[in-house]
């Protein structure tokens, strides 16, 4: 029930081909034993869209939610600088690197790949929204196994609060869509993604959230079993 309210309340509409309900422990058993990472290296987001600005929105808003779920995270902007010094300008180049490299060089127990597959802004007369499709994959730097993953496509409302006057609303939407602050929207999407993530060591809910029911997409569930 609580979840239903959250899903409706955040005005995020999950467009998914199928979901299944599982407990966090069932979905991600390796997160409840000594394979659970303490420090997570977030790889700067991979952007598969033509919206170049989307990369920064996700990079600047990922450390906060991930840390609030109890993990140690390294500032993504610094990580990006380090990669650039090593000649890595695009995170897709990192996909081929064995994760163990990041244990040795960054002391990371896991790496998190964030991929933006859609960032489509839609402007309708008195409202606006953005269709966001994201994929998150957390890999162990020790065993290379997938520790956690999440993917979803959602439509996030970007309409400014209505004034009750249609003309004012039209102007307001025009202004909003021209200069919408997408930073809080990306942050909200990142928070939403981590809702199913088992809590890490620095969270008061560490190791006590195993029975929490979460909705996971069949695609993620299937990959998890492979």
């Amino acid at each position: 029930m609580k979840y239903l309210i959250l899903i409706f309340g955040t005005s995020l509409f999950l467009v998914s081909c199928g979901t299944t309900q599982q407990s966090k422990l069932e979905a991600y058993p390796s997160m409840y034993d000594d394979r659970q990472p303490l420090s997570v290296l977030v790889i700067p987001a991979i952007n598969n869209t033509t919206a170049a600005d989307a990369t920064d929105y996700f990079n600047v808003t990922i450390n906060e939610p991930l840390s609030n779920f109890g993990y140690y995270t390294m500032p993504v902007e610094i990580v990006k600088d380090i990669f650039q010094k090593e000649g890595i300008v695009d995170s897709t180049m990192i996909k081929g690197i064995p994760p163990s490299i990041f244990r040795k060089n960054f002391g990371a127990d896991a790496v998190l790949f964030v991929t933006i597959n859609a960032w489509d802004k839609n402007y309708i007369v008195i409202s606006g929204n953005v269709t966001v499709s994201m994929e998150y994959v957390m890999l162990s730097t020790d065993s290379n196994e997938i520790l956690w993953q999440y993917s979803a496509t959602q439509v996030v409302d970007t309409t400014a609060e209505s004034t009750g006057f249609i003309i004012a609303d039209l102007i307001s939407t025009a202004i909003t869509t021209a200069a919408t602050d997408y930073v809080p929207i990306a942050k909200q999407v990142n928070y939403q993604a981590f809702a199913g993530l088992p809590h890490g060591k620095y969270s008061t809910r560490h190791r006590i959230d195993g029975e929490e029911k979460i909705l996971i997409s069949l695609k993620d569930a299937a990959t998890e079993e492979n």
Partner: protein
Amino acid sequence: MKLNSFLILSTLIFIGGCASPNTGYYWENYSGTLYNFKKNPNEETRQKHIKELESIIIKANEKGSRVPPGVHAELGYILAQQGEKGLAVEQLNNEINVYPESKTFIERISIMLGLED
């Protein structure tokens, strides 16, 4: 109007209710000042982001909570770039003190910034 207020309120409840209380971190407007600094890197946006990082540390100390991961590291990183090496080393060491698991990462940054031999 009512629906929008409800949605906004629920979003706040969602973010506030599910996330922050479990670690006690105060992130303030970190994302906002970082984004502005990234988008328009100049003296003004840099100083605003430094102020934000300092304010996160001050607030955590006041409330007796842990400084969020990476905040000391980022402050040290920016200070080193402005040539304030002493203060930078202090902040980087603070990161290791609060989060010992950051040691490898901090050593790497220190070498990159020319703070170590």
